[in-house]
Amino acid sequence: MATDIPVFLDLAITIGLVIASGVTLLAGYRVIRGPTTPDRVVGLDAIGTNVVAVAVLFALQTGRGFFIDVGLVLAIIGFISTVAVARYVTDGDIIE
């Protein structure tokens, strides 16, 4: 399926992958230099969503549909980790 796609779609997927990867690296700046802990959590949340975008674009580039499932599972893990870190920051423990 990856052989008969037009040239402009292939170029768009490649450019989208470059943008999503670079944006993931730029969000790492906020994780490292963020003044407070919620800044770092927001940066990690943005990294999670960008990695989901990278997985979806990779599914489009290779024509393999199960990378969509990979992206969905990454989104679930990102949501759970965000809620867990926020609870840890405020309450001091995750499960009381």
């Binding site: 008969d4 796609i5 037009p6 402009f8 779609l9 768009a12 997927i13 450019i15 989208g16 943008i19 999503a20 944006v23 730029l26 969000a27 700046y29 906020r30 407070t36 802990t37 919620p38 800044d39 959590v41 927001v42 940066g43 949340d45 943005a46 969503t49 960008n50 989901v52 975008a53 979806v56 674009l57 599914a59 489009l60 549909g65 199960f66 969509i68 499932d69 992206g71 969905l72 989104a75 679930i76 990102g78 949501f79 965000t82 809620v83 926020a86 609870r87 920051v89 405020t90």
Partner: protein
């Protein structure tokens, strides 16, 4: 795949990449954590949802394994969970005492604020 199909996928990829770029610029340049959370939760959600929609259009409903329909489930999941996560983080930041940028402040006696 024909040209119209590929053109729709290309436009959706362009919209999604643009939203991801704008959201990360907001994450880097806004002054405090509440503004940054606003930027990432709106723009990044729309970008990832647009890319999921591109996946749904690309694979279609006939694909073996159901990748197109999984993409639609991903859109619903993102629109449910990302605002919830942003709300939880902002509540944590407010309880930690993270101040606003500039001279903005919380209201004095809000009626529905958690003690």
């Amino acid at each position: 795949m024909n040209t119209i199909h590929a053109l729709i996928v290309t436009v959706l990829i362009a919209i999604g990449s643009g939203f991801l770029l704008v959201g990360t610029i907001g994450l880097l340049r806004f002054p405090d954590v509440y503004n940054r959370m606003h930027a990432t939760s709106k723009a990044t959600t729309l970008g990832a949802a647009s890319l999921f929609l591109a996946g749904a259009v690309y694979f279609g409903p006939q694909e073996v394994g159901g990748a197109g329909l999984t993409s639609l489930v991903g859109i619903v999941f993102l629109f449910l969970t990302v605002p919830t996560g942003a709300h939880v983080i902002s509540q944590a930041a407010e309880r930690m005492g993270v101040a606003f940028h500039g001279d903005a402040s919380w209201p004095d006696d809000p009626p529905d604020r958690e003690q």
